[in-house]
């Protein structure tokens, strides 16, 4: 799952998948603006066939938080 998440982030935010790690956070990533945040959320929803509610959308502000929220979603 982690590689898949990295690949989605890489595609949407125009990053190198290999450079994505726990230090990848919204505030310090230039291409991760509010528009691309929505794009990223929807791309993750499409990729993993899930739907996030607004509080989850707002909580996913970094690669780590995405893994955490998505993990909860997928594995309960």
């Amino acid at each position: 799952m982690e590689d898949q998440v990295k690949q989605v982030i890489a595609d949407v935010l125009a990053l190198d998948a290999k450079a994505i790690d726990e230090f990848t956070v919204k505030d310090s990533t230039a291409s991760w603006d509010s528009l691309n945040h929505i794009n990223l959320i929807v791309a993750l929803e499409q990729e993993f066939q899930v739907s996030f509610d607004v509080s989850e959308i707002e909580s996913m502000q970094s690669y780590s938080e995405i893994l955490e929220t998505l993990g909860r979603k997928l594995h309960g």
């Binding site: 949407v12 528009l35 929505i38 794009n39 066939q49």
Partner: protein
């Protein structure tokens, strides 16, 4: 949307094609990528590569597009860039931010006019523009809606006029989708001024405005939403969170609707539809299943093929030229047209028929030539991926449609991209089918009047068919070595090899000489055939390219039939070995009603003619002399 790993090789092929400036291949690879995964990440990737490599897209049509909206429409930018690219259009997008459309249009110094767009899209949600009808309907009920509707019409007219004072661009205006929920519930449809009906009246007003104002067109947003279903179209979560009411996975469809206009406005409307026959206009393979076995009629799957024919007929009525490219026996196909009762499409609806065993790309070239249109105006439809691939490789500018397995999906597949859509429909369009029909009938009349045979006759040809002998030996061997086009097997022989054969009573070696009104052409043809177990087996059959297309081969085959009958053979057999050059000979046996026995994987075909049924008769357009006395002894 898939969970499969990233198709890296497909992406690589796309980027490579883009880098070398191969627009057609890049577009095909992009389509393949989207077939794999049409999600947002794929669109993001394609869009970014297009923008990164924008300098290597010289052959695309540039188009400046401004997107004005009442909601956050930024998300449509990437799908719009990608879909435009698939249609050969390179767009530059201006996005002033949502809710700015009034200011952008009314301020002469706005960024919109500085951008000098070719096309301006005005995407306004009804709920944003007309709260009286969408949100506050219950409050407005008492007032009636006449004043509201009138104000709407005046405002939009005013907006269009203001825009036109500052810009000559084409203006595309979304019409309005009715609200998802009706405030009066099931009563909405019962009364004169239900919400749905009021929105319809807004749309009627808008359509009238579009008719009155040149280069202003209505985009049928209401139709788009209803096709996909309002419940799927809108994302209420994103409406509130990001003022982005349209669900992300619907945006490619919105983009696709706009691109239909881009295509029409940049002159890319397709003019001609070329269809395959087997498993396309009917189910099954005519050559195998026979006319009684093909599926076409009122029962599935025949009903789905009939439905497909009906939609193609509608295209014909819209002025789209129809043509056929099929690998079939022309006579079998004619029979379907004349006697299959399920055929909605008739022979006269097709302006051009290419029914033969040659390459489909050749057929398309010929169709384009006969109709005097460019191949880029052709849409080619086939169920066979190999045929699609052959055309794509040979004629990349042809738009191809590979039909899905299920015939009920044919209509949707053909029409989904609006390839034939146009923004006008003239009297000439309506008559076009008729005009081509008349032209076609005139041509058929010329054919029936024996024009070709008239031409043959006018040549006053005298053909001499003679056994190969010492004096003709050198020339005959030379012809086997040199002749490429009208040559069934292209086997090369030396003089001594021919001499060996001349000694054998089983071999028939016959040279063909032609004299015509312009002079003596000398020896121009050769046949070598062998009697074997009751059959005459043609191994070599060739004609110099100087004299092909004159019906001489008919006389040569008639001669072989006569010789075979004389020696008691019941059949004549032959084969055609395809080479890149022997195109002119490929239909030799078929034209003379030989039966096709088999085809090998290398494209070699075997043919047989039963002499008791249908021997080749002497043509009456030339005079024939044969030598009766040639024997192997002539050598000595």
């Amino acid at each position: 949307m898939t969970n499969s790993p990233n198709p890296a090789s497909l992406r690589g092929a796309f980027v490579a094609a883009l880098e070398r400036g191969d627009q057609f291949t890049a577009a095909r690879e992009a389509k393949a990528l989207l077939t794999e995964d049409r999600g947002l990440r794929q669109i993001s990737f394609i869009c970014r590569e297009l923008e990164r490599l924008s300098h290597v897209k010289p052959s695309l049509k540039p188009l400046k597009v401004a997107l004005l909206s009442s909601f956050s429409i930024d998300f449509v930018r990437q799908p719009l860039v990608v879909q435009s690219f698939l249609s050969g259009i390179d767009i530059l997008v201006y996005l002033p931010g949502f809710g700015q459309y009034q200011q952008e249009i009314r301020d002469p110094a706005s960024g919109l006019y500085a951008f000098s767009p070719d096309i301006v899209i005005l995407a306004v949600e009804g709920s944003d523009y007309m709260p009286e009808i969408y949100r506050d309907y219950m409050d407005e009920l008492a007032n009636g809606f006449d004043a509201t509707l009138l104000r709407f019409q005046e405002d939009y007219q005013n907006l269009i006029q203001t825009f036109r004072q500052h810009s000559t661009a084409t203006l595309l205006i979304n019409n309005f989708a009715p609200p998802i929920r009706r405030q009066l519930g099931i009563l909405d449809g019962q009364r004169g001024k239900g919400q749905a009906q009021l929105v319809e009246q807004m749309n009627e007003s808008l359509a009238t405005l579009c008719q009155k104002n040149p280069r202003v067109y209505a985009v049928d947003y209401a139709g788009l939403v209803s096709r996909h279903g309002a419940m799927h179209w809108y994302d209420e979560r994103m409406t509130h969170y990001a003022k982005a009411p349209i669900a992300m996975d619907m945006l490619p469809f919105l983009a696709g609707e706009y691109v239909k206009f881009f295509r029409a406005l940049t002159g890319q409307t397709k003019k001609c539809l070329v269809v395959d026959l087997d498993n396309t206009l009917w189910g099954g393979v005519l050559g195998e299943d026979g006319i009684a076995g093909i599926q076409l009629g009122s029962v599935y799957p025949g009903s789905a093929y009939l439905e497909f024919q009906r939609e193609i007929f509608n295209l014909h009525k819209r002025g789209i030229i129809l043509a056929i490219a099929s690998k079939n026996n022309a006579s079998d196909v004619e029979q379907v047209f004349t006697s299959h009762r399920g055929m909605l499409l008739k022979r006269q609806h097709f302006a051009c028929m290419q029914v033969h065993w040659g390459q489909k790309s050749e057929s398309l070239r010929e169709i384009a030539r006969q109709l005097n249109i460019g191949v880029e105006h052709i849409v080619f439809v086939d169920d066979n991926p190999a045929e699609i691939q052959e055309v794509e490789q040979t004629l990349p500018m042809v738009t191809t449609i590979k039909l899905p397995k299920q015939p009920e999906q044919f209509v949707g597949t053909l029409l989904q991209d609006g390839l034939f859509d146009s923004l006008s429909f003239s009297a000439e369009d309506r008559r076009r089918g008729e005009m081509y029909r008349q032209r076609d009938e005139a041509e058929k009349l010329r054919e029936r009047s024996g024009n070709l045979e008239e031409f043959y006759r006018s040549l006053e040809m005298e053909v001499t068919l003679a056994h190969v002998e010492k004096t003709s030996l050198i020339r005959c061997a030379q012809m086997t070595q040199k002749t490429n086009q009208f040559n069934i097997t292209t086997i090369r022989f030396s003089e001594s090899e021919l001499v060996e054969r001349m000694k054998s009573p089983d071999w028939l070696l016959v040279s063909t000489s032609v004299r015509d009104r312009f002079g003596d052409n000398g020896i121009v043809g050769l046949m070598m055939a062998r009697f074997r177990s009751g059959a005459l087996d043609i191994e070599t059959f060739l004609l110099s390219c100087r004299v092909i297309g004159r019906g001489i081969e008919t006389a040569m085959l008639a001669y072989l039939c006569e010789q075979a009958a004389r020696r008691g053979a019941g059949t004549i057999q032959g084969r055609i070995v395809l080479t890149p050059k022997n195109f002119p000979v490929r239909d030799l046996f078929e034209r003379h009603r030989f039966a096709r026995l088999e085809e090998t994987t290398t494209g070699e075909t075997r043919w047989m003619l039963n002499l008791n049924n249908s021997p080749v008769l002497w043509p009456d357009w030339l005079r024939v002399t044969t030598d009766a006395v040639a024997t192997p002894e002539n050598l000595n």
